[in-house]
Symmetry: C3
Amino acid sequence: MKLVIAIIRDDYSEVLQDELGDAGHRYTKLASTGGFLRKGNTTLLVGVEDDQVDSVLSVIRSTCRSRQELITPQPMPIPSGLAVPPIEVIVGGATVFVVPVDKFERM
Amino acid sequence: MKLVIAIIRDDYSEVLQDELGDAGHRYTKLASTGGFLRKGNTTLLVGVEDDQVDSVLSVIRSTCRSRQELITPQPMPIPSGLAVPPIEVIVGGATVFVVPVDKFERM
Amino acid sequence: MKLVIAIIRDDYSEVLQDELGDAGHRYTKLASTGGFLRKGNTTLLVGVEDDQVDSVLSVIRSTCRSRQELITPQPMPIPSGLAVPPIEVIVGGATVFVVPVDKFERM
Ligand SMILES: Nc1ncnc2c1ncn2[C@@H]1O[C@@H]2COP(=O)(O)O[C@H]3[C@@H](O)[C@H](n4cnc5c(N)ncnc54)O[C@@H]3COP(=O)(O)O[C@H]2[C@H]1O
Ligand SMILES: Nc1ncnc2c1ncn2[C@@H]1O[C@@H]2COP(=O)(O)O[C@H]3[C@@H](O)[C@H](n4cnc5c(N)ncnc54)O[C@@H]3COP(=O)(O)O[C@H]2[C@H]1O
Ligand SMILES: Nc1ncnc2c1ncn2[C@@H]1O[C@@H]2COP(=O)(O)O[C@H]3[C@@H](O)[C@H](n4cnc5c(N)ncnc54)O[C@@H]3COP(=O)(O)O[C@H]2[C@H]1O
């Protein structure tokens, strides 16, 4: 058993949940916030058998593509009149950690 | 040291927290949402010494019993006039992952 | 790769996030609640290379100092007229778990 912890952009959240459900994977959703952009995002906990980890990763990979965005990083308080040029970041689709599980129980 | 991650129904949340506290276990609560029913539930993080894991599991087991419920799964948008028969699921009391901890520190 | 899970008091949250960002560490923030005081606190997930764990821990250690506080523990419903003496607890700055990661992927 492994616990997949996937942090994804909010706008991928609905479609990823549907895809995971369709593939028969069970999961739990946590509301979270990104450190750099201080914007809301989504953290999913997906507990799966060892041989299902690759299936979960490929569902996430096909659903959450990274793309380039122009972003004004928060929370810089800016004196009015000064325009802060947005910076270009490649915002990923997903950041994924696979963590070992010593014991799993459904009660 | 292990980290017990327990996902429980909201209606078990208060009583489980009291029982864990009474048994001397420290924990942190996260608000979460179930993947299938899209209903709010509770995720508890309980960090314990290795020899206390069984105690935490038995507190959860005795507090969160599974039972059968008739449920209309969300979020199917339904054309009006069409009645969707509820389905019977055995909704568990708790889903529990025990994760190894390499290092623990209270600062 | 390790996942550092740090539970900190809300009043340390902003400064710790700034310090982690300045040190080049990426992280995700989860809103959480303490088990004993039933007060809001902050849980940070910080995924780092193995050789960066000590850097993250020293940033947390220098930002979140423990101190003594007089606290009236919640949620004891108290009959009016009865004054409950506050108790003195040493509320720590941070509770930190370092969890092993089998696989990490940015998609
Ligand atoms: N110091 C920095 N300098 C320049 N650009 C930076 C940066 N920190 C982040 N970015 C960029 O901003 C995007 C959003 O980061 P944020 O921290 O808000 O939101 C993050 C954070 O919530 C989470 N995350 C990423 N790496 C993490 C890690 N190692 N540990 C914990 N959470 C992580 O995943 C979200 C998306 O990350 P992603 O890498 O796809 O996308 C990141 C990255 O492209
Ligand atoms: N594909 C499916 N087909 C038919 N019935 C299904 C189903 N997925 C879930 N159910 C049923 O619905 C209940 C609620 O699931 P939900 O995903 O909303 O809420 C779940 C979810 O938040 C969490 N959970 C369960 N297994 C998980 C896993 N492997 N990984 C992460 N979270 C899990 O624990 C909650 C309670 O789970 P529990 O198993 O006791 O109870 C489940 C199960 O009896
Ligand atoms: N049974 C008890 N008897 C007497 N005093 C007690 C107590 N339980 C907690 N305290 C005191 O109250 C402070 C706040 O605990 P709380 O559970 O609200 O908030 C906790 C909880 O959210 C989290 N935490 C601590 N230990 C944990 C563990 N083993 N597993 C999961 N979360 C933990 O970190 C927060 C701060 O913990 P910290 O130890 O610095 O500070 C604790 C501790 O000094």
